[in-house]
């Protein structure tokens, strides 16, 4: 009987979605040729699709309800990756395998594949940067791409006007983005979370619109081309060489970023960020300077975006405002949310999945943004902690106090 009820509900919901999507999915008009196409099959797909999704969701909800209310850290602790990372020997082996794979990658695969991987690695770094802001400090920054743009245009303009090289500009771009972060952060970080999100979104759009409209400064929508590629000790590289070089550069960047972010989040500052995310008032009552701590997180995130902006400009040799839309911020946010806010391994995995998957499943690439949107919604509802929840806090300190006692 219950099954029949469920079935009936499923059918009703399917019908509702058929109705809901009817005008957009079924009818297609051509106002110029004045023809109407009725795509009835779409209604059928919709009905079947909704029914299947509904059944699956119900199934998972039921199953989750039946399994014990596991405490989150245990559940996450049993994940394969964390078990691998827990054991020092396995961890060392994993690192060796990863290092070999990373080094061999451009030798074994084509320039195109290497280039795609470089892009994915850039998103890893961007994701890790945003992770400091969103994941650790809990500040929803929807204008992250603005700092990316600052870095990219810093390199593009200084290279174009003064012929300055990549290595000179790299720190400049990062620092300038961090300065922008401080400038913006100073007034807005006292806002409540959701307002902060909207203000940063507004700021991101302002930067883009200024770049688009202020032609004398930024050459407007046509952008700046012929930006110098990164050089290797003054050597100019050919196209293939440059792609490979960029790739290794990004691998180093990723390692550097993981190292820094890992140390930050296990420090006094990192703990303060997480505490701030949990409860601002209690934080202040414990003597944490709310503003300063937030500002540091915000500008550190911006710094990484700035660095990546410079790398982006050097890699593509061309920048224009169209690369820095809100959607770019949304993609980076989706990476962090999918991977798991605050979790380094999660963000890396999130970036690789979201950037590589559409590349390799060509047929699906047009559904990319659709999927990103759906991911944001589904993750919030079904798994807000992300694919790989951050669990470092349960064991990192465990042995140390005992050691301290023993000594």
């Amino acid at each position: 009987m219950a099954v029949f009820q469920e079935l009936k509900k499923g059918v009703l919901i399917s019908l509702w979605f058929v109705f809901l999507t009817f005008p957009v999915m079924v009818i297609k008009v051509d106002p110029i040729a004045r023809t109407v196409t009725w795509r009835w099959m779409n209604a059928l797909y919709m009905a079947v699709g909704t029914f299947i999704i509904y059944t699956l969701v119900q199934f998972f909800i039921k199953r989750r309800g039946r399994s014990k209310p596991a405490s989150t850290q245990k559940e996450a602790g049993s994940s394969v990756i964390h078990r691998l990372l827990d054991n020092p020997r396995r961890r060392a082996m994993l690192f060796v395998v990863l290092a070999v794979a990373a080094i061999a990658f451009p030798q074994l695969l084509s320039s195109y594949q290497t280039n795609v991987m470089t892009t994915a690695l850039m998103y890893v770094v961007l994701g890790l940067g945003l992770n400091i802001v969103v994941g650790l400090a809990g500040l929803l920054d929807l204008g992250f791409v603005a700092f990316y743009a600052v870095g990219a245009y810093t390199y593009a303009l200084l290279n174009h006007h003064f012929g300055l090289g990549f290595w000179t500009i790299l720190p400049v771009g990062g620092l300038l983005a961090a300065c922008f972060g401080i400038l913006l952060g100073f007034p807005v970080l006292r806002l409540r979370g959701d307002y902060l999100a909207i203000v940063t979104l507004g700021f991101g759009e302002i930067i883009r619109l200024v770049l688009e409209n202020w032609g004398e400064f930024s050459k407007g929508p046509s952008g700046i081309s012929n930006i110098a590629r990164p050089s290797l000790f003054g050597m100019e590289l050919d196209l293939h060489g440059s792609i490979v070089f960029n790739y290794y550069l990004m691998v180093l960047f990723v390692i550097f970023t993981i190292f820094v972010v890992n140390r930050l989040q296990n420090s006094r500052l990192g703990r303060a960020w997480i505490a701030l995310r949990e409860d601002e008032i209690a934080c202040q009552a414990m003597g944490i300077d709310k503003h300063r701590t937030k500002l540091v997180a915000f500008s550190l995130g911006a710094f990484w975006a700035g660095l990546m902006g410079v790398v982006f400009a050097g890699k593509t040799t061309f920048v224009n405002p169209a690369s820095f839309t809100f959607m770019e911020s949304a993609i980076i946010l989706a990476i962090v949310v999918l991977g798991g806010m605050g979790s380094i391994v999660g963000v890396i995995l999130g970036a690789l999945i979201l950037i590589l998957m559409p590349e390799y499943l060509r047929g699906l690439s047009q559904y990319r943004m659709l999927a990103f949107g759906a991911i944001l919604v589904c993750m919030m509802i079904f798994r807000p902690q992300g694919l790989i929840a951050n669990i470092r806090r349960t064991y990192v300190y465990k042995k140390t106090p005992n050691d301290a006692q023993a000594s």
Binding site: S71, T72, Q73, V260, R263, L264, S267, R268, L269, G270, R271, A272, I274, A275, E278, D279, I281, A282, C283, Q284, A285, M286, G287, I288, D289, K290, V296, L300, R393, T394, Y395, Y397, K398, T400, P401, A404, Q405
Partner: protein
């Protein structure tokens, strides 16, 4: 207990719109003392805490803190984190722990204002930062042992029992090395057994020389712990004195039991 006062509050007034939540309140706490602030619900006790810890900015009045052997400093207009740095630490009536952090980490946050490491220190992990980190761990662990939560150090704070959460808040506040510890209804929601344990804990902390100002409704607890009691009603101080004096004070009886007793 005739030592010098640590905390002096004079003429503290707080208006919310047209409502006067605190009315020219005077209060002082001497070093090593346990002082209780009592009064019916809505008397303005928590508002008083919020005002002296910088969460609210009082309309009028002065708050001074005097470190033993040090100079008197004003707390007027300081942000909450600065107040904590100067030496006032508090717990919250409706527990405010960092629920997704471990018990130990919660206490470590309390060490924040007594330590320095920043971005570079965190990244480079130089010897000084490492020593500081070790010190944070040891001190925090010691605090947990003091309140009897050491064996729970790796659990998430949200998974602790109610009474344990209250004790964790005390440990966290103690980790800031306060001159004066402010406890906002530490026994609220505790069962009798937990309350007895809490009483023991507060006495232990007090014996170590810690000055304490507490808000509490449990009269038995207040009477057995306090050296002095301040009574508030409608934002005003209506009485002060030793537990015995307070118990016999007609104004206090009236505030608690209503007019009829008078008649």
């Amino acid at each position: 207990m005739t030592s010098q006062p640590i905390l002096e509050v004079s003429g503290l007034t707080m208006d919310f719109g047209g409502i006067r939540a605190l009315n020219a309140l005077d209060l002082d706490v001497a070093s090593g003392e346990i002082v209780a602030l009592i009064g019916p619900n809505g008397a303005g006790k928590t508002t008083f805490f919020n005002c002296i810890t910088g969460i609210y900015t009082p309309t009028e009045g002065n708050v001074w803190l005097t470190p033993p052997g040090g100079k008197k400093v004003s707390l007027n207009g300081l942000k909450p984190n600065k107040v904590t740095e100067r030496g006032l630490a508090r717990t919250f009536q409706n527990i405010r722990l960092f629920s997704k952090m471990t018990v130990l980490e919660n206490v470590m946050i309390g060490r924040h204002c007594r330590t320095k490491a920043f971005i570079l220190g965190a990244i480079l992990r130089d010897p000084r930062t490492r020593r500081e980190e070790q010190d944070i761990l040891e001190t925090s662990y010691a605090m947990l042992e003091k309140v009897g939560l050491a064996e729970h150090c790796d659990e998430f704070a949200e998974n602790l029992s109610y009474g344990a959460q209250r004790r964790l808040e005390i440990a966290r506040a103690l980790a800031t090395e306060p001159l004066l510890l402010l406890l906002d209804e530490p026994a609220a929601g505790m069962n009798p057994q937990e309350t007895i344990e809490l009483e023991g804990l507060i006495k232990k902390i007090s014996r170590e020389g810690q000055a304490i100002l507490l808000i509490e409704h449990d009269m038995k607890l207040v009477m057995s712990l306090s050296d002095r009691i301040f009574v508030m009603d409608y934002g005003r101080k209506i009485a002060q004195g030793t537990p015995r004096e307070i118990r016999e004070n007609p104004a206090v009886i009236k505030a608690y039991l209503g007019e009829e007793v008078d008649a």
